[in-house]
Amino acid sequence: MEGYITIDGVQTPINGCKNLLEVIRASGIELPTFCYHSELSVYGACRMCIVDIDGRGIQASCSTPPEDGMVVRTHTEQVMRIRRMALELLLANHHGNCQTCGKNTRCKLQDLAQKLGVKNVRFDELNDVLPIDDTNQSLMRDPNKCILCGDCVRMCKEVQGIGVLDFVGRGSDVRVSPAFGKNLKDVECVYCGQCASVCPTGALTIKSQTDQVWKAINDPTKTVIVQVAPAVRAAIAQAYGITGGEHAMGKTVTALRRIGFEKVYDTSFTADLTTVEEATEFLGRVAKGEKLPQFTSCCPAWVKFVEQFYPGYLSNLSSCKSPQQMFGSLAKQYFADNESVERESLYVVSVMPCTAKKFEADRPEFAVEGDPDVNAVISTQELISMIDEAGIRVADLPPESMDLPFGFKTGAGIIFGTSGGVAEAVLRLAAAAEKPTSKTAPIEFREVRGLEGLKEASVTLGDKTIRLAVLSGLANAREVLERIQSGEAEYDIVEVMACRGGCIGGGGQPLPNDMQAREERKRTLYDCDAILPLHNAADNPYIKECYEKLLQKPNSAIAHKLLHTGYRSRRRIQGEDLELTEEQTGPKTPVSVCIGTNCYLRGSYDTLRRLIDKARESGLAGKIDFRATFCFEKCKASPNVQVGETIYGGITPDKIDEFFENTIKPAAQGAVKAETLEV
């Protein structure tokens, strides 16, 4: 749309803006909003962006298309009164214990109440106190602070393609909630934290682990070390107004030492290690003709997403642990071998841009005899709060360098923090292996860079062409997986980061965490890469040393033990089974048929129906307790049937006769015999 709009008497060009709100904002007026985000669909619920349009009256500008010749006033007395009233009503329903709230001073509701001059709330609180959900490692949900803007609902559904949260109920009883009012840990949440990034209030916040970290730091029996993820430096630079990511990192290193960490390391080091391991794994897959594409596995939200929604693709996930977990297991080994610090005495802290990393560190496979490889994970936001709590003035500090060996990285490790970075790091290594060039001149693959959620590229290296997809935002990942599944698309490497733009926009990053902030952080990381002397992970001298002293060679047995992992299918929602048989006395053989998505799609409903029919025909109906269940977490072998304690896979409807005769019948008759004996 072209043309002009008169905004408060000033002629303003439309310039292709898609709604009136954007035209007004471009003209220099920051209209307030809660529910408007340029990357989400327009909802028009909060009424903060109302304006007076000549001939139309009061309208929400976010949901009004701009038209040539419109005359708009943004702050008439009436507009301001309505806006203030809407805000006052929101405040009446909001548990405003601001001083102790996780979003204090960064809360949009607080900010707008102050800006719009709401000095008094004339209404009493109406709603009862609803329970707070703090049962998972990553996120806290306090429905009492929710203003029903729906930002989290649309973020999870539209950008992440999951839909964990939705509106529940109607009228004054509406709330935002996971299915059946369950806690986040009992539903399909992948803990990416993007909901908390857009939440304008303290209804969704990061679950803090700073108290545990302070406790460890003040415990004389612990050696406390810290790793800092690549994307953190870009956000710290922004938050403290420091120019340059490496400069900001240097000051952060000083701050971390002042806080009390004994050693400060860079997760970019293990990102380099990941590149070497993952590239070797990829070349191995190609050589052995194994399953392609290879999916990256650095992003814990993406890994959980595959485990829940695409269990058929688990073997496509690279077996490499994420850089965070590689660091944990390597550090615990290194300190035991070289510094005489035993596992239990070493306390490994991660500073991550991510909330899902908290969940990842807590996965049972990343612990040795109950001692986790990574003891605590704090987000960038939590690091800032620790720095502020200690009263450290980061910007005034002199910079310091990280500790060796795990503080040394190449530019390839740094760009892991942004979408396209992992793919580019692998390509650089492969390109250098193909044709050794000068180490100082970076080999760049600009086609995989940028914040777009879906990038595709074909790169020719020697006689091979590698087809890549670089994805961010899990809705994009879902779309591409569906295309791969249907045979429409074929790739060799698929890089996925759950958050739009990659880790720079992770759910643990400071607010604002919008696309503009992410763009700036992306540039910071590429600048860091540019000024480092090395750009290929394989050139990192300490990585080489690591292989010489400990790991032998990429993908060796010891490397597999320390740096690789496995995946499992994962149930999406917790709940009870459906009991399908009438109550009858006497012992019965339990037979459960899975009707979760994977089994359902492979005909488990018919399996169930025919098993019940068979039981009836053979007169054993009273001896079998049939149940329908949701997911045994063995989706690969679907459809699954459990008889007694044993789970049998691949029970498609055509195998029912055989399965019933050979497995269920003897089990049920066994139960009959037991009953006779008892009598």
Partner: protein, 175 residues
């Protein structure tokens, strides 16, 4: 529906109806737009929407369970609690309201031992709901019992109607 009046407690699962669910889904097609008619039919089977069945419907329709739960909680016609065999709906639209339906509401609540926060009798025989305008204003005050409209009704007429239904039910149970 030839069912005994007493339903299993919530939590223990309704049983033989499950075989119908897939039939219902196939009848309407496993698409998002068929969600509401599917839920209506499912509720006809169970008299309410059990959580596990909603999860199954979400699976079959490839929708997030939260979306299905959101729809099921939005419409007053859906219940996530087991309902009684007989549904009594008292209209509380303007016309019925000004014609003093409150005495009728009080009488029904008293007869059934119910209250605004207790809508179903312990034996799951009756559920009593207060609903918005049913569009029978000319007959105000109006009450609907199992789909049958009682127009210009009174407290006494309602108590008698309930007595009659209960007697017939008990006679049926005794057989």
């Amino acid at each position: 529906m030839a069912q005994s009046a007493v339903l299993p407690e919530k939590g223990s699962k309704a049983r033989r109806h499950f075989s119908r669910i897939q039939q219902i889904i196939e009848e309407y097609g496993a698409t998002e737009s068929a969600l509401i008619p599917i839920l209506q039919k499912v509720q006809d089977e169970y008299r309410y929407l059990p959580e596990e069945i909603l999860t199954f419907v979400a699976t079959a329709l490839d929708l997030p369970p939260a979306t299905v739960y959101g729809v099921a909680t939005f419409y007053a016609q859906f219940s996530l609690e087991p309902k009684g065999k007989h549904i009594i709906k008292c209209c509380d639209g303007t016309a019925c309201h000004v014609r003093k339906n409150q005495t009728i509401i009080n009488a029904i609540n008293q007869r059934l031992g119910l209250a605004p926060d207790k809508k179903t009798t312990d034996d799951h025989r009756f559920t009593f709901e207060i609903v918005s305008c049913i569009g029978a204003c000319a007959l105000a005050p109006a009450v609907v019992i199992d789909g049958h409209v009682y127009g210009q009704t009174t407290a006494q007429a309602m108590v008698e109607a309930i007595d009659k239904i209960e007697e017939a039910d008990k006679a049926e149970d005794a057989q």
